[in-house]
């Protein structure tokens, strides 16, 4: 196609135009790649460190390339490192985290989506107040509410259990997810809902068949956020679960956060990267659904 075009015009005219286009693209790729390099710098440090034997690190080689490469740290982090007196590595804690994160993400995203839908497409008097109330919950300093939350969980009979943790994450997660969805839905044309109403669709049907399919990008955003927050949460995990119920972050903390012991930097780095794998997978898989223009052509005007 580009060739066909080029044939039509004199070469001297085609050339500068081409280079100008290149230059334009350069302006886009340049910053993107520079930024990517900067962003990857700490990762590089981590990878390199995780491949070094511990002695090499302690002999002063922090950032440089490893002299000997070993995967011991990765193995240790996965299945050998001691989390307290149980030397199981991170492996068993993954299951806990998954059991917690999946229901919590699904529930909080689902509830947030439906709240956002109500707050934009089914506005009732006081809807903005409700939104404001939910929103303010985003700013709650969690350190301050651990004790009443522990009491509440105790009363609900959820203390020390994974369902209890799911409850906490959902309760605070909906503040964020509602925000995301509400702010995405305000820019969806109201005509869509109207048309569906006339077609005979009810409250839930419209949500499910018309609104949700157009909100894939924000579902992705919400899932990414919730997954990251919940997966990486330490505070609630450490406060509301114990021992073998603990999520992965508590185990990771136990690998990493030694005070009077010797830090095993290589294992720490490997463990951190292993712990991040599910989240990264979510980013990559969910990222595919960052699709363009889902509302394009829906309405005119």
């Amino acid at each position: 196609m580009a060739n066909a075009l080029a044939q039509h015009k004199p070469i001297d005219e085609a050339l500068p135009r081409k280079t100008r286009i290149r230059f334009g693209r350069l302006l886009i790729y340049g910053p993107l790649c520079a930024m990517a390099a900067l962003y990857l710098m700490p990762l590089w440090v981590m990878v390199v460190t995780s491949l070094k034997p511990l002695d090499e690190i302690y002999s002063g080689s922090f950032i440089g390339l490893p002299q000997t490469i070993t995967l011991d740290a990765w193995r240790a982090a996965w299945s050998e490192a001691c989390i307290g007196t149980e030397c199981t590595g991170l492996k068993p804690y993954f299951a806990n985290s998954l059991l917690m994160v999946i229901p919590a993400v699904v529930l909080s995203t689902g509830i947030g989506a439906i709240n956002g839908y109500i707050l934009t497409k089914w506005r009732f008097p006081g809807a903005n107040l409700v939104f404001g109330l939910l929103l303010f919950g985003c700013f709650l300093p969690y350190q301050a509410i651990l004790i009443p939350m522990a009491r509440t969980l105790g009363l609900l009979g959820l203390a020390g259990s994974i369902p209890g943790l799911v409850f906490v994450h959902v309760a605070y997660g909906i503040c964020f997810t509602t925000l995301f969805f509400r702010n995405f839905f305000v820019s969806l044309p109201d005509e869509l809902t109207k048309a569906a109403m006339v077609d005979g669709a009810g409250f839930f049907r419209i949500f499910w068949s018309v609104i949700l399919p157009t909100s894939i990008p924000i579902i992705v955003v919400s899932c990414i956020w919730q997954f990251t927050q919940i997966w990486n949460d330490f505070l609630f995990g450490v406060s509301f679960t114990s021992g073998g119920n603990s999520p992965m972050t508590v185990a990771l903390n136990n690998i990493v956060n030694v005070t009077t012991g010797r830090k095993q930097y290589n294992v720490d780095m490997a463990a951190a990267m292993i712990a991040a794998i599910p989240t990264l997978l979510v980013y990559i898989v969910a990222g595919r659904y960052f699709v363009r223009g889902l509302t394009a052509g829906a309405v005119k005007g």
Binding site: Y39, V45, I63, G132, A144, S187, T228, N232, Y283
Partner: protein
Amino acid sequence: MNAAKSFSSRLAGWLPRIVVAPSLLVVIVTVYLFILWTGVISFTSSRFVPVYDFAGLEQYVRLWATPRWHTAVANLFIFSALFLFLSTGIGLLMAILLDQNIRAEGFLRAVYLYPMALSFIVTGTAWKWIMNPGLGIQKVINELGWTSFTFDWITDPNMAIYTVVIAGVWQSSGFAMAIFLAGLRGIDNSVIKAAQIEGAGLPLIYRQIIIPMLRPAMLSVIVLLSYIAIKSFDLVLALTNAGPGSATELPSTFMFSATFRRNQMGVGAASAVMMLMTVAAIIVPYLYSELRERNNG
């Protein structure tokens, strides 16, 4: 029959309210009731565990007489302002660049997002090394021959807070990017086309048409980043451990150490109340204007 109909249709009218009600209820309990509890505690003499006496404003007086708290508040403003500005700016820029129909978008997006996936307990160490003048950037650049180059903010109590900003922006701007990108993906192209026709170049189109249309996304980003700024905890702890000295103390670290390390639960509660009040003072007017605007928009 008629009455039943009207009941069911009235029910349908109430349905939205019924559906949000549980969320609202949960939030009222877990947010507002708990805030109330914190508020109550801040007026008691609680130290190690909650006690329910009345100590008046004693804890607030104590709080404001603590130099660390002053540092924390000052840092919060420096940190939040810079962090918000830079993360929003960089996030928006990256989203816009990524939206130019480029190759490897998926890869780049993952690269910008990955810092969020990594627990800062560990990445803090990497940053510590990178910013340590004897190990990281400064050393590398000095060794490359530019010997006068210094980058030792992390050792300087006056500059250390900026290193926290750098690490914070690194960690969070990716998510701002994601929200903006989702917003951009929702915009109808025909509007952009119209602006192109009118002679607007891309920068102008973004400034005048697209970014205004991203206002709701911007609200999400601002709320989110403020949340991150206010609660930055791991970040500070892992990178500087609130040091050097207490130069990078933030309200969140202050609150934690007051409550769990110093046995000053009352002071911790008072600091939480102060934080919430600050947030409310800034966010509520903003929200008000934002929502009112939307209402008739």
